[in-house]
């Protein structure tokens, strides 16, 4: 990274030097042309003066013009022939234009070089900035469960609690460890997705079956959290995506809905799907805490947690919905979130291309 930057900065410096050089060359050529034309004009003026001297000495005008062909004699006066003077003017103009075109071309090419390098430098600075803020956020995300873990352990050591209180602390510590493990998995997953290092298959999948499998895995947790999950999806609806990605996307959206229901002590999650033109749309509606309508897009950014922890047993890492968005992009699909406001539930809408439309996209 460092050597690339040195190379880019050196190239930028060389290009800037070249710009100055081209500028100087243009100025120099223009001055040189003007000086040359002026010198030629002055030489002709001397010829005109010599011709005048010959005329004054009695040489006949035809003889004078024979000796000095660029001079004309009219009414006893010798002067530079008008076509010669015009040719000099034309030569000066044509040279000027030539240099202007050539110079502009060089300057344009150099300008493009500068723009490309500056863009690369800016992009690199942006990446570094993102990495820094990513690291800061990751460390923050880890320090909180770590602090909780340390606090629970030190409480156990300091207070020798009763067995039931010790059990609460141990469960809390296990949950903190699970949270950190989930975070590591999701951070690695999001890093892989960001670098595009994923093998993304695209095959027709039955949506109802995939959703039912995820619901079955979350059923016990939902029951404990007093959440009812219902799904109404036609069995013939198929989407084109990766089977693992479909599983992760549905699971993350459902886990997000569970987290949104924890602070209100449970509720319902309703899944429904429909075919729309070239898409299949899955809606996941929950009766949870909701969010301000303006926060809809922000939800899919990294480490956004609008209702962190929520007061229940589930902790968001702030990466789940970011992963959903990236996986939906890879499937040429879309995801959006809607809520009428805090306390009014939320609806997540996932759209995949239908099988026929996705086939049309293939090269």
């Amino acid at each position: 990274m460092k050597s690339t930057r040195v190379f880019q900065l050196t190239t930028l410096a060389l290009v800037l030097v070249s710009v100055v050089q081209v500028g100087w060359w243009l100025f120099d050529q223009r001055t040189f042309t003007a000086t040359s034309v002026a010198a030629t004009r002055s030489a002709y003026a001397e010829q005109a003066a010599a011709a005048q001297a010959l005329l004054d000495a009695g040489t006949s005008p035809p003889r004078v013009t024979q000796l000095l062909p660029k001079i004309v004699v009219a009414e006893g006066r010798a002067r530079i022939a008008p076509e010669v003077s015009a040719a000099l003017d034309a030569a000066q103009r044509s040279r000027g234009l030539q240099y202007a075109w050539e110079g502009s071309f060089f300057l344009l090419a150099l300008g493009l070089c500068i723009a490309v390098i500056a863009r690369a430098l800016r992009a690199e600075a942006h990446v570094l900035e993102e990495q820094d803020s990513f690291l800061a956020l990751v460390s923050h995300q880890f320090k909180t469960p770590l602090a909780s873990l340390q606090l629970s352990l030190e409480t156990l050591a300091l207070r020798a609690p009763a067995p039931e209180q010790a059990r609460v602390l141990i469960e809390r510590m296990l949950a903190d460890l699970a949270r950190m493990e989930l975070m590591v998995t999701q951070i690695l997953e999001s890093a892989r997705l960001e670098r595009g290092r994923v093998e993304f298959k695209s095959e027709p999948l039955q949506l109802a079956g995939a959703v039912a499998r995820v619901i079955a895995q979350l059923e016990e947790r939902a029951r404990q959290a007093r959440v009812s999950i219902t799904a109404s999806i036609e069995p013939q609806l198929q989407v084109m995506t990766d089977p693992l990605a479909l599983d992760v996307v549905v699971r993350n959206v459902l886990e997000n809905a569970l987290a949104a229901l924890a602070p209100v002590g449970g509720g319902s999650i309703a899944l429904s799907a429909r075919a729309l033109f070239a898409e299949v749309e899955l809606s996941v509606r929950d009766s949870g805490v909701g969010f301000a309508p303006a926060d809809g897009a922000r939800l899919f950014e990294k480490f956004t947690r609008l209702h962190p922890g929520g007061g229940g047993g589930y902790y968001g890492t702030g990466l789940g919905l970011f992963i959903v968005r990236r996986l939906m992009e890879l499937a040429h699909g879309r995801v959006s979130a809607h809520s009428e406001g805090q306390g009014r539930g939320a609806c997540f809408v996932l759209s995949w291309p239908t099988v026929a439309d996705a086939a049309g996209r293939r090269p």
Partner: protein, 243 residues
């Protein structure tokens, strides 16, 4: 003795992480404090509008308004309740930012339980001292050189008639100096008494606060008559001014 001081001090814990909040609350309760919890800045500010407490344990990275913002808002509202920041960001710049926003102490996550409890006790002890030192009519008001300082209201009227709002640190420094009127108080003693142990990186902070007090209360801050520097040691406060 102030009867409120005899009751268990009430601590408000503002932390968005339920596990950490639960751990902190349980430990504070076990130490005999009365506790309340808020999971974000807005909730904390709403709670503090109707209720008073002895200390706020405040997480920095909160959803919505962050901890620094909550602390600044409180100070702007004239609420001087001491604040102990808890944060995952523990670099010195952040630490100073926290204290500049009006915080009393700063603890980086993950922290040791004993250290946390020690700091809570230290902040409460400092405030307890301040309140009991300003409890009577005689100790609540300090008059010097035409200035009048009300320690309980954190307000003052300067020699030129100008009304002044004091920060809790300015008031505490003034209180320590006034209690030791005429004696030399070292910078370290001031730091210990007003901030506690290792909160600030240098004793220069004390110097800045003294400069602020001179600007507020000295007729000629460049040639102070009440807040005198004892070179290499600390400060001396003269109520009647240097002759």
């Amino acid at each position: 003795m102030n009867p409120a001081a005899q009751a268990a001090p009430h601590v408000l814990v503002v932390e968005d992480d339920p596990h950490l909040a639960a751990g902190v609350l349980e430990n504070l309760r076990a130490e005999g404090y009365e506790v309340s919890a808020a999971s974000d800045g807005e909730q904390a500010l709403a709670w503090l509008k109707g209720t008073r407490c002895a200390l706020i344990v405040l997480d920095v990275m909160l959803p919505g308004i962050d901890g620094f913002g909550v602390c600044r808002t409180l100070r702007e509202q004239g609420n001087n309740t001491p604040v102990l920041f808890l944060t995952a960001r523990g670099d010195p710049a952040d630490r100073v930012r926290g204290l500049e926003s009006g915080g009393d102490d700063y603890l980086a996550k993950p922290f040791h339980l004993q250290e946390f409890l020690l700091r809570v006790r230290a902040i409460l002890r400092r405030w307890d001292w301040y309140h009991s030192a300003s409890a009577t009519a005689a100790t609540a008001v300090l008059s010097f050189g035409g200035n009048e300082v009300d320690f309980r209201a954190f307000r003052a009227r300067a020699w030129n008639g100008e009304a002044q709002e004091l920060t809790e640190k300015e008031a505490m420094i003034l209180k320590v100096l006034a209690e030791h009127g005429g004696e030399i108080v070292s910078r370290e003693d001031l730091l210990e008494k007003v901030w506690g142990y290792d909160v600030f990186p240098s004793t220069r902070t004390v110097d800045n606060f003294i400069l602020r007090l001179r600007k507020r209360f000295e007729r000629d801050p460049a040639n102070p008559r009440h807040f005198l520097t004892v070179w290499g040691v600390g400060y001396r406060f003269l109520k009647d001014g240097e002759p």
